[in-house]
Structure formats: structure tokens, C-alpha cells
């Protein structure tokens, strides 16, 4: 993350370019002519780069900002337009502290790039000076915002990791490092999973040389109450198993643990800002590989819940590992609510594209809260149905239920949600299918980049709805 400092004035030494957010139609006088010539009006996302003897200035379109989100986008645009500069100064003087903080958050999010593994790294933006009227007034809001930003960036870092670097074991080790922030981490390996009866998770992980794990992250909070539980699909690489995926695009399947990464990010954000709410993340980590031991279509698995599942397609593995995780979370920790995040289906991408996650669940109030928070933090979702027919389609001749339906034109996202619902019991539950939004297309710049979608949403959800000790 960028090193962020709030200052009253520009530093003298190498301040980097000066970015000035411009509200639509309010061009600063000194640059009015240049802006007019370039037809720059302050439209959101547009950046006008003005080199000059007194230093480089970036006019950054902020549109007509109505919310913190709009300022965040301006901050991201400023960071994106910086080019080869190690430091950026952002002029937030005259703005409310919340707007200034949103600019900084946006810049941090917009500046992030993967690339830990590049041996030659060019000059990258590393530091941000924010010019504000009162650094003291910005400090508090920034501490809050920075926690969410760091959570989001952790989710992105993890998601960006190649699968040879982030095996289930390595993923678990990374999560164990969160202990330094006061998060209790317990990792269940193959033996404990076998003893407990994680039949679905173990089956999915069986084809890989890297054994599966279940990571349980706990944040105590400051009042005694049942925790809110996050569950994240953590398939470190998804070949599809015997129902093998096509070669083209398979490299993107290193992102198939983005749900688990987002949950981890949310836990980090809660810890960094010392949230009073008790919270919990249950993250099944596995690699869905091909091997002599791999599970097969047609296999019948006994899940942790005791319910049996007929495997139809080994590439529908996410719902299997989540089934065990949901049951574990529910029976072991009796949470107030369970929210699972998963890059679960291609169907949700067909349904909602790359702009919204699919939202499913059993609790209308929780769903409404998730939807509202998603809009507020810029991680929008859209409700989708779990119909009677969706569940009927999963009836099996040989087991308690099928893992998915087969045929053409399947509402697989709805089927997956209907499947998961069977393991959520009576606990208020929401499921976010983030297959379309876990990464963002970067155009010509290369492959899709992780967004960290969900980390900020979960953090904000807890802040708004789970931190009142008298309401649970």
C-alpha cells in the first residue's frame, strides 16, 4: 500500500506531480485555458496531464461528486494517471475530511498492481502526500478507511498469487501470519479433517499433491455474542478435475480462491480497526487437480453434515467445499449470520456480467443489508432467486442430492445457491457469487487483475449492522 501522509503544504523535495481534483465545471483559473483547449470539463475519470516549468500538474475529473465513492474514483484516476512517478501529491485542500480520506483511499486502491514476482520492477507509485487544511481532522477517518483499504489489498495480493506459490499449505501459512494483528488462526490439516468427516472438502482436494486445509480465523471483538461468520471458497487452482476445463484461459483459475481471500481481507480490516464485533472466517482451501486419486463424476460423497451428494461434474467443486465449511461454521460456532463468498459459477457472469455479484440467501433483512452496503462501498450486488424448481433439479436417484444439474442452458448459479442452502440450516445466510467481479478486465494491459471484491463489503456490513452489543 502507498505510504500516505497528510500535510498542509507541498513538500519541497521531489513532491512528484500535483493532482488536483476538479469538480465538473469548476476549473481552477490558472488552468482554465489549457483545460478549455483540451476540452477538459471535469468529467469523472478523465485526467489532464499538464507538464510545466513549475512542476507537473494533473487535473483529475471528479464529476459531480455526491458520495465518498465518487471521490474515491477520482483518487483512483489520479493514481492511475501518474505514470512513472514514485510520489504523488493530491490536493484536497478545501474539501471535507471525509472527501480527502476517500481520495486517499481511492489512490491507494488505484495504485495497486500485482507483480511481486517480476525481477525487474519499474518505478512505481509508492508514496502519497495529501494536502489538507487540517491533518489532525483527517487522521481519525483515515485510520478507519485505511483498515478497509489494507483488507482489500490483502485480498488482492492473495488472489494475484500464482498457484505454485499459493498452495493450500502456503495459503494457510499466509493466514497464520494474521495472528500478529490479534486474529486467532487455527488450521486443520488432512488428519483432523478426516477425523471430523469433511468428506466433500477431502474429495475435492484428493487429486492434488497438495493436501487441503481448513483455516479458521477468529476475531474476538469486545463483547460477548455469537460471531458473524464469513465463508470463502479457497480453490487455489481449479483445473476442473476430471471434468477438465478447456486450456484457453485456464491460467485465470489461480483466482478461484478470491472468496477466501476476500474473507481474510475483511478479517484483517476488522482487526486493524479493532472492531468490537466478534467475527469468524472459515476458509476451505484445496486444489482441484487431476490425479489417480481424483474424485470422479458419479461418485457419492458423504459430507460433513452426513448428507450424501452425487457428484455430477468435478468442476462444480466450490459448492462442495463450502457445504462442509457451512456445516462446520454453523454447528461449531452457532454464528448470528453466515455470509459466503465464492467465484462459484460461469452462470452468474452470463446473468450479471462483470459489474455486479449475484446475491442469494434465506434472510430478507440480511440480503437487504448486504445490497445496501454493497452500493455504498462500490461493490454492488444484485439479488437472484432460489426457486422451488432449482432445488427440484438437484434431486438425485442415488444420494440425498445432486451437486449440480446437467444439460444445456442451466441456471447453475441458482442451482449452486439451492445446493448451499441445504447446508446453511436455520442460520441467516447470504451467498455472494463473485465469479464476475473478483477480477477486472484491464484491457490491453494484460490479464484480468484481482479486485478484492467483498473484503470492504463485509467490513462495512459488520460496522453498520453487527457492532451494536445490544442488538444481536
Amino acid at each position: 500500500m502507498l505510504k500516505v501522509r497528510f500535510r498542509r503544504e507541498m513538500r519541497r523535495e521531489a513532491p512528484g506531480p500535483l493532482a488536483i481534483p476538479v469538480v465538473r465545471g469548476a476549473i481552477p483559473l490558472s488552468w482554465a485555458e489549457a483545460a478549455a483547449a483540451a476540452r477538459f470539463t471535469g468529467m469523472p475519470g478523465r485526467v489532464l496531464d499538464l507538464p510545466g516549468p513549475a512542476g507537473r500538474v494533473l487535473l483529475v475529473g471528479a464529476g459531480t461528486p455526491a458520495s465518498a465513492l465518487d471521490w474515491e474514483q477520482a483518487g483512483a484516476a489520479a493514481a492511475g494517471g501518474t505514470g512513472r512517478a514514485a510520489r504523488l501529491t493530491l490536493d484536497a485542500r478545501g474539501l471535507a475530511p471525509e472527501a480527502a480520506v476517500a481520495l486517499a483511499a481511492g489512490a491507494c486502491l488505484g495504485a495497486w498492481r500485482p507483480g511481486r514476482h517480476q525481477s525487474v520492477r519499474g518505478i512505481r507509485l509508492a508514496a502519497l502526500d495529501l494536502l489538507v487544511d487540517s491533518p489532525e481532522a483527517a487522521a481519525g477517518p483515515w485510520e478507519r478507511a485505511a483498515a478497509a483499504v489494507r483488507g482489500c489489498l490483502l485480498a488482492r495480493e492473495l488472489t494475484a498469487e500464482p498457484a505454485n506459490h499459493l498452495t493450500p499449505k502456503a495459503f494457510a501459512a499466509r493466514l497464520e501470519r494474521l495472528a500478529e494483528h490479534g486474529i486467532a488462526v487455527d488450521v486443520l490439516g488432512r488428519k483432523r479433517l478426516t477425523r471430523a468427516g469433511f468428506g466433500a472438502l477431502l474429495a475435492v482436494g484428493r487429486g492434488s499433491a497438495h493436501a487441503p486445509r481448513l483455516a479458521v480465523l477468529r476475531w474476538r471483538g469486545s463483547f460477548a455474542a455469537p460471531p458473524v461468520a464469513f465463508l470463502g471458497k479457497g480453490i487455489c487452482f481449479d483445473t476442473g478435475g476430471l471434468s477438465l476445463k478447456p486450456a484457453a484461459g485456464m491460467e485465470a483459475m489461480r483466482h478461484d480462491m478470491a472468496g477466501a481471500a476476500a474473507c481474510a481481507g475483511a478479517m484483517l480490516a476488522l482487526a486493524l480497526r479493532r472492531s468490537p464485533a466478534p467475527a469468524l472466517a472459515v476458509l476451505p482451501l484445496a486444489e482441484n487437480a487431476i490425479g489417480a486419486e481424483a474424485y470422479r463424476p458419479g461418485d457419492v460423497l458423504r459430507t460433513l453434515s452426513g448428507r450424501t451428494v452425487e457428484v455430477m461434474d468435478t468442476d462444480a467443486e466450490g459448492r462442495l467445499v463450502l457445504a462442509d465449511a457451512l456445516h462446520w461454521a454453523r454447528t461449531r460456532f452457532a454464528p448470528r449470520a453466515m455470509l459466503d463468498l465464492a467465484t462459484l459459477t460461469g452462470s452468474v457472469v452470463t446473468a450479471l456480467g462483470r459489474h455486479r455479484a449475484g446475491l442469494f440467501g434465506t434472510d430478507a433483512a440480511l440480503l437487504a443489508q448486504v445490497a445496501a452496503v454493497g452500493e455504498a462501498v462500490g461493490e454492488p450486488v444484485w439479488p437472484l432467486p432460489i426457486g422451488r424448481r432449482h432445488r427440484e433439479d438437484l434431486d438425485s436417484d442415488i444420494a440425498d442430492l445432486k451437486q449440480c444439474a446437467t444439460g444445456r442452458w442451466l441456471p447453475d448459479a441458482c442451482h449452486a445457491a439451492a445446493f448451499l442452502r441445504e447446508f446453511a440450516g436455520e442460520t441467516p445466510w447470504a451467498h455472494l457469487d463473485i465469479a464476475g467481479v473478483a477480477t477486472r478486465e484491464e484491457g490491453e494491459q494484460g490479464p484480468d487483475q484481482p479486485t478484492g471484491f467483498g473484503a470492504r463489503l463485509l467490513d462495512a456490513l459488520v460496522e453498520r449492522h453487527f457492532e451494536d452489543p445490544d442488538r444481536h
Partner: protein, 503 residues
């Protein structure tokens, strides 16, 4: 379709007798007079049978007695569930459940005297809808396999009230049957011209019907619709149907009142064109005019029940074929609105037809609102499955009304999102827009394409789009829909109009 009559409760002397029975509380209320008469006539056979079959009146339960005496061919008891849960929808479902049980009888009576007369009518509606059959092309069917039902008497305490409730329902059932007939017709029989002829048949109900051929459409500049049609040997048609009911059926437009408008996609067969579809399942593509079928059925329903409003139905009828004259991927067409479209995929043709039909409808009628229906995208099936139609709208009030109406008549809709980010996926390098926006959010970008032809120059135009690709055809029997064409949309939009736009 059997005749439905409402009669005073009295034991019939022949045929089948159906007893819809609620789930009784312990020490239940006294049985109806008809039931008592029946028990007397059969020496208590029914009571013994119900006991033996552990019949409790639960939903889905039934019990059949063959030749129980008293001249009856059979007695069927069916469970209604808990009395306080007997909604019109549940009564319809009960009627639907009865239909296959009496299909082989010539005459049947349903003892509905324990229900409110309106619920008795709802039961008749469910029975009628479920009893629908498209058998025009069966020539070798054995007599015993053929349904024989000619007359159903619904016994009710208040025949006048039941009849009054039934009259509009019957018109709607006729509309649904018409829509189902049109969708069921094979594509060699029903092309654009033949379908337009069927529309002309609505004139006898008092509907004004105009048919535009290729010459008129060319003159008007329907470049998008004609582009789709140009590959087929069959000429396209645009049919405009007007029901002027606001003046009480005097055939005059009420002063200043704007009509409500319904627009339907009517691709009588969709091969996909040059972007041809896979062979497997292509025969299903005769259903690709189900949106138009629903609009035609709806107009028949509105006229049939003399709805007190002005309504206009516009259907664009084409056949999408590959040939030497067919439209190519890469073609740019100019729509009636003046906007240009780069055709990326000739199988995304429905939206092209709707573009011109919608614009024409607005230019000519400036309606209060527009609802279009179309079997538009496979993506909506992958999104929602076959229970819900996809609902897209620029107007929350209209959308909520459609959702509520759909729920009430068992034609549920699910609202889908729209937004600028989706609209951008339609950007073309060469024209005003592409006709497809890629796989992600495929139904949403299709809706955005259509929305670009909703004219807002005169202010807000409430518009809703129903993607019925998943709901126009049922692959298995549903409570009030036999397997096959569903007629989805007729009841929904009739209810919408009845609830909010009449009188």
C-alpha cells in the same frame, strides 16, 4: 375446451363427481348437503374410502372411487389444504389438478359449494387452463386416448356471482389458449403472413387490425426489421391491433386518453440466420414468436372481456433464415429511429425487430407505457431458469406493478439490473451500437439495446421488457399449464391492466 356451467348443488345422475375437500380440523364442521346426499346414495362409500386412503384434505392428496353407485362413473376427492390458505391461486391449482383426472369423462361436476363463488370460478379457470390440448395434427390417435370432456358443472351456492366472476376469466382463458395455439403451430404452417391472418381473426371481437407489408415498412424505413427478414422467402409483417374500450366499446378513442401499448417479438422461426444455431434443439425455435403470441392473446382477452381502456398491440413478424439474400454479420442497418446498428450476430435478431416495432408504436400512439415481450436470450435461462421471466424496466412503479401482477397469476417475474456499465458493452467502432454486448450480462445488454429505442424526447416513457425465453415453453406439466406452450404473459398483462389502468 369443455363448457363450464355453474349450477346449484344437487347430486348428478351420471358422469364424474369431484369433491375438493379442505384439510379439516379435528371434529370438523358438518359436511355439505351435496356430500351428505352422496354418502346416502352410496351407502357411505366415500367416507369409508377416504378413511382407508388416509385422505386428510392436504394439498396434493387425492382419492378416486370407481363406479361408486348412484349412476356415477367415479368420485374423485382432492385435497385443498388448509381453509385459510385457499387463495385464488390455490383454487386455480386445485382446478388444474382436477383436469387430468376427469379428462376421460364426458361430463363432470365439481362440488365447489363450500368455496366462495369467486374461488369456484378460479377453480374453473385452473381446470380450463390445465385442460388445454393442442392436437390439431394428431390423426391416428386412438379413441380411448383422446380426452372426451365436454361439460363441467361447478356446483356453487351463488351461481350468479360465480358466473359474473367467470365471464372475464373465460375471456382470459381464451386469450391464453390462442397464444398457446400460435406458439404450438409448426413453423411451416405459421409464417409471418399466416400469423398476420390470425390477427385479422380478432376483428370479430371488435379489434381494429392493420397489417403492414414489406413495401410499407420499406417506405417507413424499418431497416432493422427488414434486415432480419431479408434472408427468408416469406415476407415480413407488422401488425397493429387496437382495442378501443375506454369509450365503452363504441370503437372511438376516448378524448385525449393515451392507450397502453404491448409489443411482441414474432420470429416465426429462428434458424439464427448466417450465425446459424446448432442443429440439436433447433425445432424448438418455432416458439420464438411467443412474445407476439402473448400480445395477440392479450388483445383477444382484453376485447373478450370488454376491458374499459384503449390498448394497442404491435407485433413484428419475420422469419430468420440463412440464404443468399440473408443479412450478414458485419452489416450495418439503419433503424426506423434513425440510429444505426452494426449486426455482429444475426442470431440476436429479436431486438432488431423490436427496435423498429417499439419506435413505430411510440411515433404513432405516444402510449402511457410500453411493455414488450420476447423470447429474447438464452442468457435469461442461464440467469433465472424456467420459473421466472426476466423483467427489465426504466420505471420502478411499472416494474413493481408487473411483479405483483405476475405473482398473483402464477406468472412470476424477477427484476434484473440495468446500468450504464452494461450499456457501454454495446459500443460499436463503426455504428451507433452493436446488436450484442458479449456473453457477460447477455440479457441485460439485450435489454439496453431495446431501451435505446424507447423515445424519451417527449419526456419519460415508462417501459418494461419481459424476457420470456425461459418461461414461454414448459418442459413438464405445471399446475395450470400442460407441458408445451405456456401462453406466458397473457394473464400477467391482463391482470396488470385490470388492476391499474381501467376505469
Amino acid at each position: 375446451m369443455p363448457d363450464i356451467a355453474f349450477v346449484k348443488p344437487a347430486l348428478p345422475r351420471s358422469g364424474a363427481l369431484v369433491l375438493p375437500l379442505p384439510e379439516a380440523a379435528e371434529g370438523a364442521e358438518p359436511a355439505s348437503t351435496l356430500r351428505q346426499a352422496l354418502e346416502e346414495a352410496t351407502g357411505g362409500a366415500l367416507a369409508r374410502a377416504l378413511e382407508a386412503a388416509a385422505f386428510k384434505g392436504r394439498k396434493g392428496q387425492s382419492c378416486t372411487l370407481w363406479a361408486p353407485g348412484a349412476g356415477l362413473s367415479k368420485i374423485v376427492a382432492i385435497g385443498l389444504g388448509k381453509p385459510d390458505e385457499l387463495t385464488p391461486e390455490a383454487a386455480e391449482a386445485a382446478g388444474g389438478a382436477i383436469a387430468p383426472m376427469i379428462a376421460q369423462e364426458r361430463e363432470a361436476m365439481v362440488a365447489a359449494e363450500g368455496m366462495a363463488p369467486e374461488l369456484g370460478a378460479a377453480l374453473a379457470l385452473g381446470l380450463t387452463l390445465r385442460g388445454y390440448r393442442f392436437d390439431r395434427y394428431r390423426t391416428q390417435e386412438k379413441e380411448e386416448d383422446r380426452p372426451r370432456l365436454e361439460r363441467v358443472a361447478i356446483a356453487t351456492a351463488d351461481t350468479a356471482a360465480a358466473k359474473a366472476a367467470w365471464a372475464p376469466m373465460r375471456a382470459v382463458a381464451d386469450g391464453v389458449a390462442l397464444a398457446r395455439d400460435l406458439v404450438s403451430e409448426p413453423p411451416n404452417v405459421l409464417g409471418p403472413e399466416e400469423m398476420a391472418e390470425r390477427c385479422r381473426g380478432l376483428e370479430k371481437l371488435g379489434i381494429e387490425v392493420e397489417v403492414l407489408g414489406p413495401k410499407e415498412m420499406k417506405k417507413l424505413g424499418f431497416g432493422a426489421l427488414l434486415g432480419v427478414a431479408q434472408g427468408s422467402a416469406r415476407e415480413p409483417r407488422l401488425v397493429v391491433m387496437q382495442w378501443l374500450g375506454a369509450s365503452g366499446g363504441k370503437g372511438k378513442r376516448a378524448g385525449g386518453a393515451k392507450p397502453v401499448a404491448f409489443i411482441g417479438k414474432g420470429v416465426t422461426f429462428d434458424t439464427g440466420g448466417i450465425s446459424i444455431k446448432p442443429a440439436q434443439g433447433m425445432e424448438e425455435m418455432k416458439f420464438d414468436m411467443a412474445g407476439a403470441g402473448a400480445v395477440i392473446g392479450l388483445m383477444a382477452a382484453l376485447a373478450g372481456r370488454k376491458a374499459r381502456l384503449d390498448a394497442v398491440g404491435v407485433v413484428g413478424l419475420v422469419e430468420n433464415m440463412p440464404s443468399g439474400t440473408a443479412q450478414r454479420p458485419g452489416d450495418v442497418v439503419k433503424t426506423y429511429s434513425g440510429q444505426t446498428v452494426e449486426v455482429i450476430n444475426t442470431d440476436a435478431e429479436g431486438r432488431l425487430v423490436l427496435a423498429d416495432a417499439l419506435w413505430y408504436c411510440q411515433e404513432r400512439f405516444q402510449p402511457r407505457f410500453m411493455v414488450d415481450l420476447a423470447t429474447l436470450t438464452g442468457a435469461i435461462i442461464i440467469s433465472l431458469g424456467h420459473e421466472h421471466a426476466g423483467l427489465f424496466s426504466n420505471d420502478d412503479e411499472l416494474a413493481q406493478r408487473i411483479m405483483a401482477a405476475g405473482k398473483a397469476v402464477s406468472e412470476p417475474c424477477w427484476r434484473m439490473p440495468m446500468g450504464e456499465a452494461y450499456d457501454k458493452q454495446l459500443k460499436s467502432d463503426i455504428a451507433d451500437m452493436k446488436n450484442v454486448g458479449g456473453r457477460p450480462g447477455g440479457s441485460i445488454t439485450a435489454a439496453h439495446f431495446i431501451q435505446r429505442f424507447v423515445d424519451t424526447r417527449r419526456g419519460h416513457m415508462p417501459w418494461a421488457h419481459l424476457d420470456i425465453a425461459g418461461t414461454a415453453w414448459a418442459s413438464k406439466d405445471l399446475p395450470t399449464v400442460p407441458k408445451g406452450a405456456t401462453g406466458f404473459g397473457v394473464r400477467l398483462l391482463d391482470r396488470l391492466v385490470a388492476e391499474h389502468y381501467e376505469g
